[in-house]
Symmetry: C2
Subunit: 378 residues, 2 copies
């Protein structure tokens, strides 16, 4: 049997297969086309007779995957030449430690904006390595969660860096602007929003992102770091987590998570094919607006408590005004093929995550389900 | 089309597919049955309509994978109840830093046996965190590499731990005995030999193993640690790499490398099905003896330079007596479907790695090729 026959067979299966719309905050729904490609070549990548999992990380074969993935990140985000692109093991939380370990040097102090649970976790971990300054916290406007404007932030001009979280998955809060850090290197945890809007990388000192939302599978983290911020690591940083060491070795100092790296490569190739970051900016805008509009127009039944100026396009938390109905909603949604709509345990309620892998049809299906649910219980 | 039709289709394809015998030292050849199963359920795990990559790490579904994997490690290695089993991001080299960070406490000194490149790397990394004592080095006997007997080691009874590497992949050296650390916790890097022979876990304080040889794909590391060695972490250890924190949270403190964890689960289920560690001890013995015997009987053409008392069953380095023929050997072997036989760049020559995923038929094919090669060029 030729590979093309296998492909036809898988194609037929995938047309009929019961795939769900998965609204998980991450590990998240991946583009079906990417999964299908990975499945097809799972045992026999490019007719090598091997799975990508089985090939050595030092050879030409993996080298090609690694270089192509890096080149695609550079192209998709227009990463300037004076930035290194690293592929590191673990997730973003590991970088919560590695940012101070790699950047603080002798200064031992940095600024952190606290807009939610993830930025607060980064701040708390930072405080284990130095004296961190919380420059601000979320406030309220018109009874809704609101990111205070920058003139209210208490920035420290002597800070080693300013850390913030452009998108908070739990509260469903997103910056639609980039803070002006006044020359202090800006460090951004883009785990839950990377590749979903155009950015000007030159505004940042460090961008980092765990892969399991818009970049593939859990277990690998993308770090984009400006050259002049390398070489400042503390003597305590594990060698393989020293950004300088990994930059020098193109992230191949030790065995990297090769399969996760490959999956990121497939996701990025797909991202380019769909039209790149500009296209996903459009899609994210459209998908999230559709759902917010639906919720806002039914405020007596569904409610979102984030101010429109800082609503996340990626994670949309909402509640039933009658919260006792939440378990029924979740059970029936799952039956309808809409999974992982439960809100984070610290936030309660419901949440729909609309990463790049979620097609607009998923949002339509969710709204249709919500309408039906409201009709029956409203 | 029903799943069973897809399965038939994949089964037919896999019968005809050109799979190679992959002698890579790691990432290594995986059991075909494991890859086939992962491929079949790649887009639709247990009829959930999701890939394992897409399911949340906090839910019941992943919880089942996590618990089963842990239970299988415990069963396969008869891990006593007073040992925790952790699944951590990254590979064994990350543990080179984490061992001192998690164990040293105030003492700042430990013992390391240096038997090759990997144990030396662990020692060097250890020295960044304390004053490490090299208890011994490789020696020679009858012109061959030889692990000195323990009475020649310079052990320090005040050491926090004694670290050694039961199998060195580059030199092809293996301990066929367990050092007596006289009450000092014994720490073993079993990356390249775990699950290939019966061990008595109670002889060890810590066992750790990167997954990409006998446990699955790169990007996850198994750590088995005795309860009383937890809770000693230095203030510098990143929170998610603190063994105590991860033990408390069953390795789910943060998003773990879920897919790599799942693959480890499949490999362990397969390991059990084949007959467990005892079976692989037998197979490893048989496969390696066959190849060593073949090489030894042709010493004018092929040569292995390790003393029989400490030859590795997992990694068999050998050379052509006429080393100028090495590139020809490698090229022709690849054409014959025998890949990754090149020795490590620091060792040169050739190397055949015979992990659990390498069937005996692979060794037979290699010997047959070597015979043919010798006939033509000998």
């Amino acid at each position: 049997m030729k590979s093309s026959v296998l492909n036809q067979c898988l194609d037929r299966e995938n047309k009929i297969m019961h795939r769900v719309f998965n609204f998980s905050p991450g590990p998240a729904m991946l583009p079906e086309a990417v999964l299908v490609q990975a499945q097809k070549e799972f045992l026999n990548w490019r007719e090598t007779g091997m799975s990508v999992m089985e090939i050595g990380h030092r050879g030409e074969m993996f080298g090609e995957i690694a270089e192509k993935t890096e080149a695609d990140v550079r192209e998709l985000l227009s990463v300037p030449a004076n930035y290194q692109i690293l592929f590191l093991p673990g997730g973003a939380q590991l970088q919560f430690s590695l940012i101070p370990m790699n950047l603080l040097g002798e200064k031992k102090s940095a600024d952190y904006m606290n807009t939610g649970i993830w930025s607060k976790k980064a701040l708390d971990e930072g405080n284990r390595y130095g004296q961190m300054n919380e420059v601000g916290q979320m406030s309220e406007r018109e009874g809704k969660a609101f990111i205070p404007p920058q003139e209210e932030w208490r920035l420290n001009s002597a800070a080693t860096y300013l850390h913030y979280t452009p998108n908070e998955t739990i509260e469903g809060i997103e910056f639609h602007w980039v803070p002006d850090s006044a020359g202090v290197p800006l460090v951004a945890d883009m785990t839950s929003c990377i590749m979903s809007r155009k950015i000007d990388v030159s505004q940042f000192g460090v961008i980092y992102a765990g892969a399991q939302k818009n970049l593939g599978q859990a277990g690998i983290t993308l770090v984009i770091v400006r050259d002049d911020l390398l070489g400042r690591a503390s003597p305590w940083v594990p060698t393989i987590l020293n950004w300088q060491t990994q930059a020098t070795h193109h992230s191949l100092y030790n065995t990297p998570p090769t399969y996760a790296w490959y999956m990121m490569g497939l996701v990025l190739a797909w991202t380019k094919k769909q039209g790149g970051v500009a296209e996903f900016e459009k899609q994210s805008q459209k998908k999230s607006e559709k759902l917010y509009r639906y919720i806002d127009e039914r405020e007596g039944f569904y409610v979102n408590r984030v101010h429109p100026s800082c609503r996340s396009r990626m994670n949309i938390p909402f509640s039933l005004v009658d919260e006792s109905m939440t378990p029924v909603f979740l059970r029936e949604a799952a039956t309808a093929g809409l999974t992982y709509l439960k809100g984070h345990r610290l936030a309660g309620g419901l949440r729909a995550s609309l990463y790049n892998g979620m097609p607009e049809a998923g949002v339509d299906a969710l709204i249709s389900f919500m309408s039906d649910f409201m009709r029956r219980f409203g």
